[in-house]
Symmetry: C2
Subunit: 894 residues, 2 copies
């Protein structure tokens, strides 16, 4: 950006613009597009763009526009007047303008457009004379009051519509067009009365006042709830601000030689190369969207206005070539003359994105690298999960957060136990206020999960995404009565056993079953992913705990397992009682006895996993969660005991529950996240480490004998001090030696650690003396670096993002400024001690594109993510590689 | 240390030693002292020291001594033989040796000495011939078997004592000395039989075997439970290892011209300059300690052996001059010839330390700087808290951890409510399983606190130290039955209302009331502290929440308040209901209404505090804990509701409790330490910040009008991102402006932040753009850097220290390797942005000497600690300054 900070307004018109197409930061997407089109000789009505900087100043100054802005606007308005030969507010030849918001990224949640601005009781007469169409002029006037009243003054649309309907009824008119000029004059009067009544003031007659108010309304709309929500859902920073575009009006409603329409240069849904769009004759832009009249397909314009159609085709084809991307455009035909009002890169489905990218490479329009940069990695999610049949009729009863994509139908249950029982024979949806690690088996048994609380990083969300399972969270409207086995929402009551459908891509909760379809992977997908794999340096692994997950991961191209969480094996229904026995053991021998019962099942787990990943590395994390997670809940026991006592219950039962409660109490922790977990378990109870390592190495030996190559990477969790790792590594080596000696086989294995505590990052040089690999656990690292509990922070993180304190949820997008510094430090210090140290990441961030880019940048060897995100990570890794090489510039898009 | 790593044995004798007095790391304290005395020409029996390195190798090699050690020992034994003209194991002129452990720091918990080693059935005859005293020889032999049997072979002392008693009974002997040589021969036989019976082996006859076994026993003793406990209590790292001293025996029991004794060059209890000690004629060292015969005061030696006494006085005076410190020495007189067996700096009480240090300066023996280095800062604690009258007879019923020094007696209560009621009229001791923030008012009302659980950094411990209140924690022996209002311990039952006494300096729990005395501050204290203040650069502030604490802090020399925790003001009994009303408010207006009720009381709090600290800075931290800490406990409500339901309770009561539970549930957090607290409260509920700032600034304005100078430093807690601070700083400034405008007065204030999250440390450059001061909250910073919850980590931290994984509890002593790196980074980055940034520390570490030294080193401006630790911090700060200047070297001591 080479502009000075005091210029707030950029003119475009007469074939030349002060701005450029690349200045989206300053001019917003629309403003930059208008400038670019003007410079490219495309017919664009003249106008000017007020910069995003002006918007930011507006907020900094306590909602006052910066000094000099009004004067600049005045000068540029004069240039527009000169360009079109009209005058703003003139009683003879009045200039009318449109006022539109335009942020860097298209935001449908923001302010609507105000059209026909500049009309008042005097200029409307001029417009009538100028167009020779009094009815048109008064219709424009009443439309203006209506839009301005709604958008700028905040009066509900329905207020105006009622007045219009009343007048139509009085006149016996069916359509708006049945009203005469005089009717519309009367309507204008009525509208003004409505404005007076609602706002206590006269409708502003002075055009510059109208313009100033509209501009401020656009600025204010940047923080309206819709915009805030949209930004949050789309990861758009709150500090960008919006630009304002003021442009001379052209009219598509001046009769049958006028028209207005929208279109795409290719089909945005399928990606097919076809001219795609719709238009209406004798209409203003809003009419196309409003759906009052059904627009006609754009091809029809070829018959109706062949010259205009030809010109439009040529211009849009030229624009696509110019931008080398699909264009989404708006146009107006005023008395057979074509004007382009907007052009921008067209949003498209994942399927279309893939098709368009590969087609454009074939057409020689873009390179493979550019094609890779054109696909938004996150979109691939759509391709990989089954989707609701779009033709189905659905009854949406609530909407939550789209936590894990895909679609699922099933009968609802309210407890994990019920889920396991019912889930064995039918499809079920688990409905909970929130989930916890205890619920895993129930979640596993369910087709989908619906929670009333929690955000995009809540337990349910994370686990479901890990399972590739459809999940809707934070659906706060539903009220669950677990006891009565029913939930209520918006007047509906849904009982256990009734069916619902979840749409994990939109957050919709739908009554009954809706058919789903496996979104088929097109040939383009294979071609595209081959290019991707050629382009990337980072390896991509998957987080997978069981053979089934590993299989999915391999299918999606995972090059190993980056994280196998062994605790998930402990929660399985047949094992939990043994695990509890182990925890409740009063001494080491009885603990060892229980562990010995777990050994064979753990070994089978690993054999299954290793077999699936034959030849690829498998990173196994030793037991991580605090032991109390495997025991009954403290408050439940307390309640049971109190009730038993109050009701004279069996004293032996009371005693035995009290004994259990005592043990639970002794394990109780105020902050389990910072408690007795991770390697702290294996250090205090070395027999647990010994059992797990025995199972791993025995499994490897077993397969080694079969000739299956296995490379286990044994990962010690939550290390903060090199001595912790040293202690556990010695134990691992000692155990492995014993097992291999017994088995008479030697297998290769590595011992490494998670870097998930700030202390591990800052002492990574020491830790690397013992560690053969590092895996950044950025979930925990984010928790401790920020001091945010992932389970609790949802509420205030949302507030933070809404209020611009944080740009993004650091649990979703790796916080480069803080956590990233620690990661970079860990990599640098670790490699200083051990230059060939293998380093990866296994937090949720491993499947998030911007975080993957960061991982590429700091020199990690691989990222690991949930199986369904593997293709996303592959694309993101390729994009990072390409961007770094700087082979292409500026064609990045969101 | 300039020795090579392969030399494990250092000889001393013949007026020359291979080692030096400063090599305590390598030779241990005793070994270094023997070397130094030998080199100084003091008569020391020759011998050699096996290094601590050999001990560490022993552990590294799985309890095998390093190669070459046996050979080295053999060579050095030969040098000893040559020096004394005797031969190890010789039947004619046998050399006998003593074997003693000797770590860097004196550790009474370790292995006892083995004397007379080298005796067997053959050499005993030689000893008899050589000394012309058969009885002596056989007495030495039986003593050797007894000591070796107990210390090396692990046979209980009582086993030998029974045999001895039986023989005495048989012979009708009263004293050991009544037994004849033949009796002792028989006893040796009996002892050998006992060894055979207990160990299944013959007593080892070969002297080199005896020596090897004793050496290994010393090495093993490094990890015996007593040593481990001693190290933990005295903060001695587990990885130092112990040396072994082997020395030619001299005998104080060769008749009336022989003697043995111990002494100090000055009185270690009062510090008076007097020759102090005791001795026994015709005795071995152990007899002095064993207390079988009452030793005589050392002055008596002047009459009994005037020449020896003169020589001893001269030598010890010389040693005191040489070491320039009080010496604690051991000596033996063998047939009128004096031998020095040990000398070391004498341990002393705080009172003595102060007196000795100031006296020695007056004597010109040491400089003021050296005097300051001579006082162990932590010892000052003894001077500042009332102590139990040492003359009282006490009945100790249990011992816990000495969490907060001083002494307190009172009637016991089991709930904070009862504490408040009873505490109004009598002295009480609060007895709890553990305490929580809810209990503050009860703790405040109590004279002392006793808990059954928790460590030295538990809530009770920290708060009690902050209050300067006597506290014993983790007294696991006591079993509290809160319902029955009684605790049981070791057969005692203590009911509510009965009196106990706590000794916070030793952890003793005593039945009944024991009189206490205010330990009077000697004149030396004032003199000494004046020197201290001249020497230090760091300022010392206090953590104080209420005027009373502030007064104590000023008395102890605090130069401001570094941390005023405003939440403590919220827990006061009269305010808690209003606070709860504020939290339960359904909307902002009702929240503001509740806050308005808190405003005047909060203002009065600050007026009191400011008045007390007139002219000094006062740092006020805005509300920090999560709001649910102020509400009833979730599990208690759940239990109450369940019981009410089960027993058909009043439905309206159930409903109202359920409503409350709902709110409590909605605030419930899994990890409150990482939850909605700190500045996150003030950001989501700006009205809380506004109320607190209004109270602070109104108080400052009020006093400003009176002419009292007040400099409030408003501190925003738990900032992780500069935007959080910016948000709150704007709110503070805006509120302050309004208040000052209303009051018509301008007051100076600063806005700064805690640096207590890793993210704050790594982004300190950005945070310093807004912060006018930093205060490192190293409690929380340690929690997040390590991922340790202070409330939960006690158990495994203890295991870690016992097993050498951590040297010290990082909540007690600042972890320089990890947390310290972040502190240093925070200082450097903060000052890069704002060179004059004022930086302090307000965690528990601010009063811990080694941490204070660290704070000095990284350039902080001040430390802040609990009022009673202010003098400690002042001394530690002075020591840090002096050490840095390098004015003195090597005279540091623990």
């Amino acid at each position: 950006m080479t502009t000075t900070s005091t210029k707030y307004v950029y003119f475009f018109g007469n074939g030349k613009a002060e701005g450029q197409g690349t200045w989206k930061d300053l001019l917003g997407g629309t403003g930059a597009g208008l400038a670019e089109m003007t410079n490219a000789g495309v017919p664009v009505p003249p106008g000017f763009t007020i910069t995003t900087e002006a918007c930011n100043k507006f907020y900094e100054n306590g909602k006052k526009v910066p000094e000099g802005l009004d004067a600049e606007m005045g000068e540029n308005l004069a240039r527009v007047e000169a360009a079109v030969g009209l005058k703003f507010g003139d009683p003879e030849k009045p200039l009318l303008v449109s006022v539109r918001s335009g942020a860097k990224f298209s935001m449908p949640g923001m302010m609507d457009t105000v059209l026909n601005l500049g009309l008042n009781d005097r200029s409307v007469a001029g417009l009538a004379r100028m167009t020779g169409n009094e009815r048109f002029a008064w219709d424009a006037y009443r439309r203006f009051i209506q839009m301005f009243g709604n958008v700028v003054l905040g009066i509900e649309k329905s207020g105006f519509e009622e007045k219009l309907s009343a007048l139509k009824a009085k006149r016996g008119a069916k359509l708006d067009t049945d009203l005469s000029a005089d009717d519309l004059k009367e309507l204008v009067k009525t509208y003004k009365g409505l404005v007076r009544e609602k706002t206590g003031r006269e409708f502003p007659a002075e055009p510059t006042v109208q313009l100033g108010m509209s501009r401020d309304a656009v600025f204010n709309s940047w923080h309206n709830p819709r915009a805030v929500t949209y930004r949050r859902l789309n990861d758009i920073p709150a500090n960008l601000g919006t630009a304002v575009n003021v442009q001379a009006m052209v009219f598509g409603n001046l009769g049958e030689t006028s028209a207005t329409g929208v279109g795409f240069t290719r089909n945005p849904s399928t990606g097919e190369k076809e001219f795609y769009g719709e238009y209406l004759t004798n209409a203003q832009g809003e009419d196309v969207v409003a759906g009052i009249r059904t627009p006609r397909p754009i091809a029809a314009l070829g018959q109706e206005m062949p010259l205009v159609f030809k010109q439009l085709s040529e211009i849009t084809t030229r624009l696509e070539r110019h931008y080398r991307d699909v264009q989404d455009f708006e146009f107006t035909v005023q008395e057979s003359r074509l004007y382009m009002l907007q052009t921008r890169s067209g949003k498209r489905t994942a399927r279309a994105a893939m098709k368009i990218a590969t087609d454009m490479v074939a057409e020689g329009l873009i390179t493979k690298e550019e094609a890779i940069l054109r696909v938004e990695p996150n979109q691939l999610d759509q391709l990989l999960h089954p989707i609701l049949d779009p033709r189905a009729n659905v009854k949406v009863i609530a909407t939550g957060l789209p936590a894990s994509p895909g679609a699922a139908s099933g009968r609802i249950v309210f407890t994990p136990e019920e889920a396991v029982i019912r889930g064995a024979t039918e499809k079920i949806i688990l409905v909970r206020n929130e989930t916890c690690p205890d619920d895993i088996h129930g979640m596993d048994a369910a087709q989908g999960i619906l929670t009333a609380r929690g955000g995009m990083t809540s337990h349910a969300a994370v686990v479901a995404r890990g399972m590739g399972k459809c999940c809707v969270v934070g659906c706060e409207e539903i009220q669950i009565n677990e006891e009565a086995r029913v939930f209520r929402v918006n007047g509906h009551e849904v009982k256990e056993g009734e069916s619902i459908t979840l749409d994990g891509s939109t957050g919709r909760v739908i009554l009954g079953e809706v058919p789903t379809i496996e979104a088929p992977l097109a040939d383009e997908f294979e071609v595209f992913m081959r290019w991707v794999d050629e382009a990337r340096r980072l390896k991509v692994r998957a987080n997978a705990d069981i053979p089934r997950d590993a299989r999915v991961a391999r299918r999606f191209g995972a090059e190993g397992i980056g994280l196998c969480r062994t605790e998930h094996m402990f929660f399985a229904e047949d094992r939990l009682p043994i695990v509890q026995q182990m925890i409740l053991a009063v001494d080491q021998p009885s603990r060892v006895a229980a562990l010995n019962k777990l050994l064979p099942v753990q070994r089978e787990d690993f054999i299954g996993l290793f077999r699936e990943m034959s030849g690829y590395p498998v990173t196994i994390r030793l037991l991580d969660p605090p032991l109390h997670e495997f025991l009954p809940k403290r408050e439940e026991l307390m309640t049971e005991i109190a009730v038993l006592k109050a009701t004279g219950g069996d004293s032996r039962e009371i005693l035995s529950k009290e004994a259990l409660l005592n043990r639970v109490e002794s394990l109780h922790e105020f902050n389990p996240m910072l408690g007795h977990r991770g390697c702290r378990l294996g250090i205090v109870y070395p027999e647990i480490t010994r059992m797990q390592v025995t199972a791993i190495v025995e499994a490897a030996c077993h397969l080694g004998k079969e000739g299956v190559r296995v490379v286990p990477e044994i990962m010690i969790p939550l290390v903060g001090h090199v001595n912790e790792l040293r202690n556990q590594k010695n134990l691992v080596d000692e155990t492995a030696r014993e097992v291999m000696k017994r088995a008479g086989v030697t297998v290769e294995y590595l011992v490494g650690t998670m870097i998930e505590l700030p202390r591990a990052a800052v002492t990574a040089d020491q830790i690397a003396e013992e560690a053969e690999f590092f895996s950044f656990g950025t979930n925990d690292l984010t928790q401790t670096t920020f001091g945010f509990s992932r389970d609790d922070a949802g509420k205030f993180i949302r507030h933070y993002i809404d209020h611009g304190i944080l740009e993004k949820d650091p649990f979703q997008v790796l916080d480069r400024g803080g956590v990233g510094q620690l990661v970079a430090m860990g990599v640098e210090k670790g490699r200083k001690t051990r230059p060939k140290l293998k380093i990866g990441i296994c937090g949720e961030h491993g499947g998030e594109p911007s975080s993957v880019e960061f991982c590429h940048g700091v020199g990690l060897d691989y990222v690991s993510c949930s199986p369904y995100r593997v293709p996303i990570a592959r694309v993101a890794a390729a994009q990072a590689s390409i961007r770094e090489k700087g082979k292409t510039a500026g064609s990045d898009q969101r």
